[in-house]
Amino acid sequence: MRYDRITLAHGGGGSLTKELIEQVIAPEFDNPILRTLDDSAVLVMNNRGYAFTTDSYVVTPYFFPGGDIGKLAVCGTVNDLAMQGAQPDWLSLSFILEEGLLISDLEKVVASIHKTAVEIGVQIVTGDTKVVERGRCEGLYVNTAGLGRILTGNWLGSANARPGDAVLVNGSLGEHGVAVMSRRPGIAFQTSIVSDCAPLWPLVQEILKTGVEIHAMRDPTRGGLAAAVCDIAHASGVGIQLNEAAIPIKREVRGACDLLGLDPLAIANEGRMILFCRAIDADRVLAAMKRHALGKEACVIGEVKDSPKGMVLLHTTIGGERIIELPTGEDLPRIC
């Protein structure tokens, strides 16, 4: 049964999102730059590479444990640039505000945007503000676009993972999604888990200093680790093999997922990255990551093989093997 309307699952970052983009949106604008459907576009001007990206932020509630919509709006866009090896230089900032929003709340969000931007060294150079009637949005929505100079010699992208690569992650997974979900009405549970929302650029700078050739980087946001690795396996035409025992997940995240029947591998992150480089370079990259606060728990979680092409296999803790599929969409609590 096909969908004739947008459902929440279309926004989940899984297979329904992919389908919507590939079937309804992207074909209208087909061009070689767009065709990669990476998190940011790579533009070449005067022989210099630039990364360009945009993202909208609609998180509810707009203040959540470990962050807020403002910090998220800077981090999310900057991280998309950073994953392309680009120094985040300029951001645009647009607000859609709901009639009735407390100006003091907006001030807090703006202050948070300012603080995060200063921390990264990115400038906000243009913007827009619109107000909609009460009920037409939940408090405020934010859109940012970002432009940055690519600093790596080679271009990174989902299509560049190669057999023989190691798969690295900078820290434990699922915290942003669990922190936000804990505040959603109808689900309400309490957790001391806070969002991992953070700008990855300073960490990427540490990694680039090693001079190691990085093949691909990706921030596993909506759809979690599962969506990110499936995408890369597919785009690169390689087989990715992950080791379940090596994937860092906090006990509390596991507990929340057990309670609600969710898969921690499909939960969103906002300050995490996965990285692909030659296995022999992995130790140098790990050492560099560990020097930064965001990489203290960095580790190798898998490797890239020639086959099965386009597929992700997980070696389970009990010695079995299973396929990791692109998640479908919305995370719903379930009883079975």
């Binding site: 669990v178 804990s182 309400a188 549970f189 309490q190 957790t191 001391s192 888990i193 025992a245 006990r251 509390e252 596991r254 507990g255 929340a256 057990d258 309670l259 029947g261 803790t317 009990i318 010695g319 379930r334 009883i335 079975c336």
Partner: protein, 75 residues
């Protein structure tokens, strides 16, 4: 067919309890189990405690989870 998770009662107020699943807290109803006490481990399904575990049974689960190479004997 039915997900149920072991959880510890960390707060008790009549037939309502706050339970902790590895630190994730949620309010549930405990009227289906006999004499729930603070610190008890219960099995939770759809917001209800459906069974009470002895301490030894919690330890059994811990031993099972640690036994990833599936040795026949637990400890």
């Amino acid at each position: 067919m039915c997900l149920a998770v072991p959880a510890q009662i960390v707060e008790l107020n009549g037939t309502t309890a706050t339970i902790s699943v590895e630190g994730a807290l949620r309010e549930i109803d405990v009227s289906l189990v006999e004499e729930p006490r603070l610190g008890d481990y219960v099995l939770v399904h759809a917001g209800f405690a459906i069974h009470k575990w002895e301490r030894s049974e919690v330890e059994e689960l811990e031993a099972i989870r640690a036994n990833t190479d599936l040795r026949e004997v637990l400890r």
